[in-house]
């Protein structure tokens, strides 16, 4: 089998970091973001990127790194609240932005990966989101047409992988990762641990290896927390 495991993030991106490509990046806030691959994409210098990601990172972490270096031309996101540089570029007209409702964004990625070019949803009917979109009635209710999304490269973060590219995620760090893994023409996964063949329970695999073309093991995960909220121990 063509070996899916690459030495590091830069090697895994080789040949793919062309200006103007569309990149999906998993994660919710800073939870489960492909932090090594994003840093390597920044280092690659690829620019005019369209980034599909639920959020845009913070100023010095996650996709914020690519904003600082002006490598992103357009974002497709549901919420971008934590990023001053984003705000500055957007208000200055330097950055295009397309807001999608979070569930619509997730479903568009899932649809793209599953060969569904369009689907109808109630979400956003009667709002700005519905403007210019086809409306259709089903059972007396109005729905709008949303389209599937695919990316030239999808970057995802998982917990463990085996050499076949099978991935498992951990807790809420799954979020958009498993969906986006299906929607990349090339999907690159970074994981905390590479296990041997047969060590993952075949009934518990979140992303079957068919979706993963390249794979790296990341070192020293930062896993930054945005809102550390604690209670007193009893």
């Amino acid at each position: 089998m063509a070996d899916k495991v690459y030495a590091n993030a830069a090697a895994a991106l080789e040949g793919l970091t062309v200006d103007g490509i569309t990149v999906m990046a998993g994660g919710f806030g800073l939870c489960g973001i492909p932090e090594k691959l994003i840093a390597a994409l920044r280092d690659s210098g690829a620019k005019d990127l369209t980034c599909i990601s639920n959020n845009a990172g913070v100023d010095d972490f996650g996709l914020g790194l690519l904003l600082r270096t002006r490598q992103i031309k357009k974002m497709i996101s549901s919420y971008v609240g934590e990023n001053k540089e984003f705000e500055r570029q957007y208000l200055g007209g330097e950055l295009e932005l397309e807001f999608n409702p979070q569930g619509t964004l997730a479903e568009r990625c899932r649809a793209g990966g599953a060969g569904i070019p369009g689907f109808y949803t109630k979400t956003g009917v009667g709002t700005l989101v519905a403007e210019g979109k086809e409306h259709k009635e089903f059972g007396g209710e109005t729905y709008i047409l949303e389209t599937g999304l695919v990316a030239d490269v999808a970057l995802v973060k998982a917990w463990k992988a085996d050499p076949y590219g099978n991935l498992v995620y951990r807790k809420t760090a799954q979020n958009f990762n498993s969906v986006m893994a299906t929607a990349g023409k090339v999907t690159i996964a970074e994981v905390e641990e590479l296990v041997g063949p047969g060590e993952l329970d075949p009934d518990r695999i979140d992303t079957p290896g068919i979706f993963v073309q390249r794979l790296i093991v990341g070192q020293g995960y930062e896993k930054r927390i945005e809102q550390r909220t604690v209670r007193e121990a009893a």
Partner: protein, 213 residues
């Protein structure tokens, strides 16, 4: 005296029923979790991919891979399951969540809600709010009755861009509670905060509503 934020949350919590699956919005609605009756069993959903959300962790329990939709660290319970964002919003859009409690900038007498953008200001995005108001079976809005300028937030028509059209079922404000029986019916004022008068509510409300105290 108008209700405090905590009292508003307590009042909203009374709408939760045994066996309900509930999504609580970011901000004031999260306070509702503190007031869930001990005699009922409620499961909280977090739209980033979790069903069965537990309390905040102790310092030792903090786990960067375990956050809620407000990006706060949380804990899991014995009932917890995790899933993808697509499956999470399938749950929401498919009408499987019984109730959602959300904040709002404006609610209109026809059930419209605006809570995601103010033209001219930096817009952070709608996150999951549009999906929640479109998909969840029952929507309760928890909001101050008036804005900082003292103007009604319960209006004849929303002035801000909508999050959803004709979706709100109940409003719990600091002054009282409005409810409607279905999406074709008008809102009714059904409850007043202690010491608040019907006249005070009327003077601070632009929306048309019926009184059913």
């Amino acid at each position: 005296m108008p209700w405090t934020r905590d009292q508003m949350a307590e009042r909203a919590a009374k709408e939760l029923q045994d066996g309900f699956y509930v999504n609580l919005g970011i901000g004031m609605p999260t306070l509702v979790a503190n007031h869930i009756g001990e005699d009922i069993d409620v499961t909280l959903q977090s739209e980033n991919g979790m069903l069965g959300m537990g309390p905040f962790p102790t310092e030792d329990e903090v786990d960067a891979d375990l956050i809620n939709a407000g990006k706060q660290t949380i804990t899991e319970l014995k009932r917890t399951s995790y899933f993808s964002s697509a499956d999470s919003f399938g749950m929401i859009r498919g009408g499987h969540i019984d109730l959602s409690v959300l904040g709002a900038m404006e609610v209109a007498e026809n059930g419209d809600i605006a809570n995601w953008m103010i033209p001219g200001k930096m817009v952070k995005g709608m996150g999951g709010a549009m999906d929640l108001v479109a998909g969840v079976k029952r929507i309760i809005v928890l909001m101050d009755h008036t804005n900082k300028a003292g103007e009604s937030k319960f209006l004849k028509a929303c002035s801000l861009p909508l999050t959803g059209k004709n979706v709100v079922d109940m409003i719990v404000s600091d002054l009282g509670v409005f409810r409607r029986l279905d999406h074709d019916s008008p809102f009714q004022l059904i409850e007043l905060a202690p010491g608040v008068t019907e006249e005070e509510v009327r003077s601070k409300t632009e929306a048309h509503y019926e009184v059913a105290l």
